[in-house]
């Protein structure tokens, strides 16, 4: 016998909600292409990465269902990205101040 129960606690994401997330991702894609056409100097990179991060959050929280997972998993994912941030950030502390 298989002791089956839905692992998401029976939590189902509605189609309308999912299409809404998709529409937000599309809007962000249009925005990032539009912003890239304006010359903002260094701010271009900042804007592109900010929009990409908003898109990444939408994918992780809703498509990947993390918003509705248990807190252990949520913390694990958060810490993984913090470690990635430290890895990239600390490299730039070195690079940016090299003669």
């Amino acid at each position: 016998m298989l002791h089956a129960h839905t692992n998401t606690g029976g939590h189902v994401l509605g189609n309308r909600f999912l299409v809404g997330v998709w529409a937000a991702l599309m809007a962000c894609t249009v925005l990032t292409v539009a912003v890239a056409r304006v010359d903002l100097g260094f701010l271009n990179v900042v804007a592109a990465m900010a929009v990409a991060t908003v898109k990444a959050l939408l994918v992780i929280l809703f498509f990947m269902h993390l918003r509705f997972e248990n807190s252990l998993l949520r913390w694990m994912v958060f810490i993984a990205f913090v470690i990635l941030g430290i890895c990239i950030g600390f490299t730039f502390f070195d690079l940016a101040w090299r003669p």
Binding site: N7, G10, L13, L25, F63, H65, N70
Partner: protein, 199 residues
């Protein structure tokens, strides 16, 4: 009757742990990109002009839409709509193929201009531009392999759904395959602006 217990939470956590190694793999490459872009800003800017924003943008739309389809496949199976789930999985795989065909045309055009890893044309370019193209081929290439693997995995899950090995009350394999597919989308979300929108 044998007692089988599946721990779905642990199964999903295992998948996320694997995804962390993938994030660090691509993270390392993004770090390399960032370091070289910092050093050769003008050359990266110049080299980025040669990439086709329309093709890159089209592939962004294709991947985001495929992510929607795989999420809708999970919803369909949770509602017990097996055929609908299979259709959405088929559409997801179709989107993966469209992505790869686009990539094929994009890379072929680059090859015809003599831009491919190890080419004489690339060696003659300024070092910063050569680095940009090397990273472009390495990162979009590695990402392309992930698209291929993810689509194959979804194909296997589709066969499991057909045989009711993945079904309404036991679908963690579909969820985990979906997580992998979303990761592929996630990596592209950063690759697109960094390579195609740089100029």
């Amino acid at each position: 009757m044998s007692e089988t217990h599946k721990d779905y939470d642990a199964s999903k956590m295992g998948m996320w742990l694997f995804l962390f190694t993938e994030i660090l793999l691509f993270g390392g490459l993004f770090l390399l990109y960032a370091a070289y872009r910092h050093r050769y800003a003008a050359a990266f800017h110049e080299a980025g002009r040669a990439l086709d924003v329309v093709l890159g943008g089209a592939n962004t739309v294709v991947l985001i839409t495929s992510s929607l389809f795989v999420a809708m496949a999970i919803t369909a199976l949770q509602q017990g709509r097996k055929v609908r789930c299979q259709w959405f999985l088929a559409l997801t795989i179709l989107m993966a193929l469209v992505f790869l065909v686009n990539k094929y045309f994009e890379w072929t055009a680059k090859f015809q201009h003599g831009v491919y890893p190890g080419s004489e044309h690339l060696a003659a370019l300024p070092q910063g531009q050569a680095l940009f193209y090397s990273l472009y081929f390495a990162m979009t290439g590695l990402h392309g392999i992930h698209v291929l693997l993810g689509a194959s995995l979804l194909g296997v899950v589709m066969a499991f759904v057909a045989r009711d090995k993945v079904r309404r009350d036991d679908y963690v394999l579909l969820e985990n395959a979906g997580l992998y597919w979303h990761l592929v989308d996630l990596v592209w979300i950063y690759l697109f602006p960094l390579f195609y929108l740089i100029s």
